[in-house]
């Protein structure tokens, strides 16, 4: 190739590849919503859903079926709280709106903010497990040595696969003091 022709050709290659580089940098970030979308579709990371009370009440209760729901709570090492479910196991009908209760106790004489992150197994069930109310929808603030009752209202979609007989709903509590505003974390 001649000198000027070569310059144009080189410039074209640089421009095209530059676009690819920028696109791939963007793709790296696009992996984040993509990952969330795949997790939502497959229930892979056990994130449970949030629904309106109206929709939850409209479900037909399947009186012939029982599903055992077990509750687990654990605290991340940085959070000096004790958290426990008041009732550890309950049996519910799919479609029935049910209340559960967790209790948190601040062990330190200072105000601390925590955030609960849910995870449900088996993962396949997490798409059918929805909450109308949950302490995990917001950050929880506990004053010095404060004890707090934290309610939760959930419903299991009657469309849940037939082979699911029991689910375990686990909450991990993280300390979020000073961290940036977190939205939608617990949904």
């Amino acid at each position: 190739m001649l000198g000027s022709e070569l310059d144009t050709a080189n410039r074209r290659v640089v421009k095209r590849l530059g676009v690819v580089v920028l696109a791939m940098f963007g793709f790296g970030f696009a992996l984040v919503p993509l990952y969330d979308a795949i997790c939502d579709l497959t229930g892979l990371n056990g994130k449970t859903g949030q629904v309106d009370e109206q929709i939850a009440k409209a479900y037909a209760v399947d009186m012939d079926r029982w599903i055992t729901v077990e509750f687990v709570a654990q605290v991340n090492t940085e959070l000096p709280w004790m958290v426990e479910p008041v009732v550890r196991t309950m049996r519910v009908h799919p479609g029935a709106l049910t209340d559960a209760l967790f209790v948190a106790q601040n062990r330190k004489a200072e105000q601390i903010v925590g955030q609960a992150i849910p995870s449900l197994v088996p993962n396949i069930a997490s798409r059918y497990f929805d909450k109308t109310e949950c302490f995990c929808f917001n950050q929880q603030t506990l004053g010095p040595k404060e004890r707090l009752e934290m309610p939760l209202r959930f419903v299991i979609d009657p469309a849940i696969p037939k082979d699911v007989g029991s689910v375990v709903l686990s909450y991990t509590f993280f300390r979020v003091d000073g961290a940036a505003q977190i939205s939608q974390a617990g949904s």
Binding site: V14, L22, G28, A179, I182
Partner: protein, 527 residues
């Protein structure tokens, strides 16, 4: 020819400028190739000395040489320096020296950018190494820097590590753009794509891999940076993020990265074996397609690095099948190398010895890779010394042996002298034996359950660790000897012919030895 053209040619006949500034300002592909190769050798020595610290600590059970934090920092820095400082720049150095010579081009397509892509490296390397002297120590979270170890629990120096990775990424991307532009636009008339030497092909494909995945790595470390300093929660579960996602993003870069390190070595071996078997490469076209298939497959198998994170069975099955599929194009290559040697008139000069060791030992590393590609067996081997043995077989006896083979193969062309035959063979046998003493016992340790990245271990692992450490010290010593051989060759020795090796094929053997500062100013004609 007019006088004007003749004067123009005179202008190109000048040699290299003198002085230190020659190396700072240079836009000559041979100078930049040399800089890359020396830089990577320095990093190889520093990274190697870190490996010596690791092997010294693991020589006996119990803690004797360093404290655990520093040990972790050693394993991390060893990995980072060898991957980003030694192997990758060495491959770019070979590309700089050889691609223009092999396709009949006067230089790289973008010489000024070439200067930049090299000169970023020493600064990135220094920044990475400087973290070792900072409060809290250097990065100690493993070269894969998984969150939250590298975000929530990492020392402050991690931000310097992040910027070092950014700069290394810039360097690699610029280098790759240069390779692609050179190969696409600068080939001599008649040099069609399917006539290109295989080293050029493998580098072209590697360059595309780099351009596709280095930006993703840049994205991953940028997310780390904002998680650490600006309150985002990409990888923090407390804020709605997910630490497992880090592994997905990282390995989306990381798996193509391992092919970035090995494909140019495939190319080197595909040059050397035909030369010393005195036969054309068997199955040239299938080699090109196999390389391209490996590159494509490398994008869709990343989660085989994370079989134990709790994937659904469907995911494990998919990633298992896709991974094992890579064995097909890889086997095509190994069969082609073997078929090239079949009934060839083989001689065993040093480059050929290294290439043969590459074929044999890399294939061994490939087999252990298959064992771990099978999800249920990976559950047992995961994060044990078995994986350490595996990736050292493919990266040391694979990528590194490929680089050393390339250096022995092209050193007569670069310096004008043959490396001392007796010393080179001593270097080869010393390294080939010690590297197996070093890494083969690590298979046994891994199968017996010894975890990686641990400074202390229980007593049953003592014997093989001692054997491995002795092999490690011997192998390290052998590479200091390599430095001695290279310096000796540069200073003199048996004069190399232009052809260098008997009946060697390719444009690089048509020019004088040592290669003049400017070559192929008038493009050669390829029939």
């Amino acid at each position: 020819m007019s006088t004007a053209t003749a004067a123009h040619d005179d202008h190109h006949d000048h040699g290299a400028p003198a002085g230190l500034m020659r190396w700072v300002y240079t836009t000559n592909h041979k100078d930049i190739g040399t800089l890359y190769l020396w830089f990577s050798f320095v990093m190889f020595m520093i990274g190697g000395s870190f490996a010596m610290v690791i092997r010294a600590e693991l020589f006996m059970p119990g803690m004797q040489v360093v404290d655990p934090q520093f040990f972790n920092s050693m394993t991390t820095m060893h990995g980072l320096l060898m991957v980003f400082g030694a192997i990758m720049p060495a491959m770019v150095g070979l590309a700089n020296w050889q691609i223009p010579l092999m396709i009949g081009a006067p230089d790289m397509a973008l010489p000024r950018m070439n200067n930049w892509s090299f000169w970023i490296l020493p600064f990135a390397g220094t920044m990475l190494l400087s973290t070792m002297f900072m409060e809290g120590g250097g990065p100690a979270f493993g070269w894969t820097f998984y969150a939250p170890l590298s975000t929530t629990f990492a020392p402050d120096s991690t931000d310097f590590f992040i910027f070092a990775i950014h700069m290394l990424g810039f360097s690699s991307i610029m280098g790759s753009i240069n390779v692609i532009a050179t190969v696409l636009n600068m080939r001599a008339p008649g040099m069609t794509l399917m006539k290109m030497p295989l080293f050029v092909w493998t580098w072209l494909i590697t360059a595309f891999l780099l351009i596709a995945v280095m930006p993703v790595l840049a994205g991953a470390v940028t997310m780390m940076l904002t998680d650490r300093n600006f309150g985002t929660s990409f990888f923090s579960a407390a804020g709605g993020g997910d630490p497992v996602m880090f592994q997905h993003v990282f390995w989306f870069f990381g798996h193509p990265e391992v092919y970035i390190m090995i494909l140019p070595a495939f190319g080197v071996v595909s040059q050397i074996i035909p030369t010393f078997a005195r036969k054309p490469l068997f199955g040239y076209a299938s080699m090109v397609y196999a390389t391209a298939s490996i590159a494509f497959l490398s994008f869709i198998v990343w989660a085989h690095h994370m079989f134990t994170v709790g994937m659904p069975v469907a995911g494990e099955l998919y990633f298992m099948y896709a991974t094992v599929m890579i064995a097909v194009p890889t086997a095509v290559k190994v069969f082609n190398w073997a078929a090239t040697m079949w009934r060839g008139s083989m001689t065993f000069e040093p480059p050929m010895l290294w290439a043969l060791a590459f074929v044999f030992l890399f294939t061994l590393g490939g087999f252990t890779g298959l064992m771990m590609g099978v999800a249920p067996s990976d559950m047992q081997y995961h994060d044990t010394y078995f994986i350490v043995a595996h990736f050292h077989y493919v990266l040391v006896t694979g990528a590194l042996f490929g680089i050393i083979a390339a250096v022995y193969y092209w050193l007569p062309k670069w310096t004008g002298y043959y490396p001392d035959d007796r010393l080179s063979k001593l270097h080869f046998w010393w390294s080939a034996i010690s590297v197996n003493v070093l890494f083969f016992p690590q298979h046994f340790l891994g199968l017996a359950g010894m975890p990686r990245r641990i400074p202390d271990y229980s007593l049953q692992f003592a014997d093989w660790n001692m054997v491995s450490s002795i092999g490690g010290f011997a192998f390290g010593l052998g590479q200091v000897f390599f430095f001695f051989i290279i310096v000796k060759t540069i200073r003199g020795g048996e004069k190399a012919t232009d052809e260098c090796w008997e009946d060697a094929q390719g444009l690089e053997w048509t020019i004088a030895s040592p290669a003049p500062y400017h070559t192929f100013v008038t493009p050669p004609e390829i029939k």
